[in-house]
């Protein structure tokens, strides 16, 4: 199998999938503008992301990466989310094939955008 057990698990059972009404922050990342897109929604309390949701168009690993990112992000300070790296997501997923690394990039980018949005709204 090309993908780790963790990737498959998050692909098959994505955590925190879906949208959110009135989020405190939303952010998107598109990959070279070709329909591949991940969007995060954040609910923030006391500077922390207490609830996270995501939606995505994209291949299996993109879904898994978004799901993993939502798990990694929950409960963390919003400032912190801007610093969550694609590499952290990939590591948590136990690796991604060379030609699917972009999945972690997209998730990290969308999460950062959502965090910045929340900071902007708050600030």
């Amino acid at each position: 199998m090309r993908y780790s057990a963790t990737v498959l698990d998050h692909f098959l059972n994505p955590r925190n999938a879906g949208m959110m009404r009135d989020p405190d922050g939303t952010g998107e990342e598109e990959y070279e503008g070709c329909g591949d897109l991940t969007r995060f929604f954040l609910r923030v309390r006391d500077g922390r992301a207490v609830e996270i949701r995501f939606q995505t168009y994209g291949c299996g690993p993109t879904i898994a990466a978004a799901s993993m990112a939502s798990e990694l992000a929950r409960g963390r300070a919003v400032d912190d989310l801007c610093r969550l790296k694609a590499q952290d997501i990939e590591t948590a997923l136990e690796g991604l094939p060379e030609d699917r690394r972009h999945a972690a990039d997209v998730a990290a980018g969308a999460l950062r955008a959502a965090a910045l949005d929340a900071l902007g709204k708050r600030g």
């Binding site: 993908y3 498959l8 692909f11 098959l12 994505p14 999938a17 879906g18 949208m19 998107e28 990959y31 070279e32 070709c34 329909g35 591949d36 897109l37 991940t38 969007r39 995501f54 939606q55 995505t56 168009y57 994209g58 291949c59 299996g60 993109t62 879904i63 978004a66 030609d99 699917r100 972009h102 999945a103 990039d105 997209v106």
Partner: protein, 385 residues
């Protein structure tokens, strides 16, 4: 993962047991080089000759009109380059839905000064012979059109294109890799001058194929060396492969009709099942002029590879119609040529049935597909979610 269902017969097929049985001795006992004049060589030559006769009988052509190659890709390269180089320069006509083996060969020839016209198709993936007619120029040196499309299964109106080509004395090459041994082909009635075929699509081995070249067709060879295949294709013959291809064709000649009927029924069962259980799904390709075993689905708003991956985890092998390359969902050139909108094209999944496929397999795949699509749509950032 207990059950395994292979629905990717357009990609490759297992070698038929009867084919395997005929090939086996040629690896270890009848291992001579057919060019050798001694008994070891003659035994190998006999195997090659018999295979050529079997295929000739099936196609109703002369054995001398057949050249063995290393597969469909080489046959396509040989046909198009062989015609082009024999003429030195000029204009080539092909279509926008060809297999890359023809498509990129034409593009490569453009790099050598040939000109190419790539005729479009309608929403079913079908060529309009009138468009081919309009593309013909005084310096057109070859027309290359596939018989049936490997991705969507649409069968092209070869007979009409053949008539046009014949009237103008332009050689017509047909890539029949997906039809040879699946549906009847009459090269004379269809006006075909060259025909590509491949072993591994019809329960023969991989790494072997052939090209029919109508007697009198001006051609040059593209692989140089010894005087094999009547000086048309150099290289020690792949004897077991050739023997296997010959036997595979013989078996197909026997089983083809019944199998086509059986697969058509299974394909209908599949499509009815999918349509009833998966919302927003279409069957791509022509509704009637199509390969018996090919069912290419367009699942709206879902990404091909995710479906393939989901089914793979259930032991099911199907093929993605769009590839996710470095983050881009790229619909195949065929779907683009057909004008399929991106929200549908991104979810193209080709299921191709074959000898082993049963009604239970079909029902299992349908049952697996429904929840996978549903789950994938739950994460979508669009209306469908």
């Amino acid at each position: 993962m207990t059950r395994r269902v292979y629905l990717d017969h357009n990609a490759s097929t297992p070698v038929h047991p009867e084919v395997m049985a005929e090939m086996l001795p040629y690896f270890t006992d009848l291992y001579g080089n057919p060019s050798s004049i001694h008994a070891f060589g003659r035994d190998a030559r006999e195997g090659v000759d018999l295979a050529r006769e079997r295929i000739a009988r099936f196609l109703k052509v002369s054995p001398q009109e057949l050249v063995f190659t290393s597969g469909g890709t080489e046959s396509d390269n040989f046909a198009v380059k062989g015609l082009a180089w024999a003429r030195g320069r000029g204009h080539l006509i092909t279509s926008r839905v060809e297999h890359h083996a023809v498509f990129r060969t034409c593009q490569a020839l453009e790099g050598f000064g040939f000109e190419g016209t790539y005729v479009g198709v309608d929403g079913y993936g079908m060529l309009d012979p009138d468009e081919v007619r309009r593309a013909i120029r005084p310096d057109t040196v070859a027309i290359s059109v596939m018989h049936a499309n490997s991705e969507v299964g649409t069968i092209q109106p070869i007979g009409e294109i053949g008539r046009l080509a014949r009237e103008r004395k332009i050689p017509l090459h047909v890539d029949a890799v997906q039809t040879f041994g699946k549906i009847p082909i009459d090269v004379d009635a269809l006006g075909i001058d060259l025909l590509s075929f491949s072993g591994h699509k019809i329960y023969g081995p991989k790494g072997i194929g052939g090209l029919y070249v109508r007697k009198g067709t001006k051609m040059v060879s593209i692989q140089h060396g010894g005087e094999h295949e009547r000086r048309r294709r150099a290289g020690t013959e792949n004897v077991p492969g050739i023997v296997g291809l010959g036997k595979a064709v013989e078996v197909r000649a026997r089983d083809m009709r019944a199998e086509a009927e059986r697969l058509t029924a299974l394909r209908t069962r599949f499509w009815e099942g999918v349509r009833a259980r998966v919302p927003e799904v279409r069957l791509s390709g022509h509704p009637t002029e199509r390969l018996p075993g090919t069912a290419s689905l367009l699942v709206r708003h879902v990404e091909s590879e995710s479906i393939v991956l989901g089914l793979d985890l259930k032991g099911i092998g199907v093929s993605a119609g769009s590839a996710c390359t470095a983050g881009n969902v790229e619909p195949s050139h065929v779907l683009v040529a057909m004008g399929v909108p991106l929200d549908w094209a991104m979810g193209a999944v080709r299921c191709s049935l074959g000898r082993s496929t049963t009604a239970e397999d079909i029902d299992y795949v349908v049952a697996c597909l429904e929840p996978i699509v549903k789950k994938l749509r739950q994460v979508l950032p669009v209306g469908a979610a």
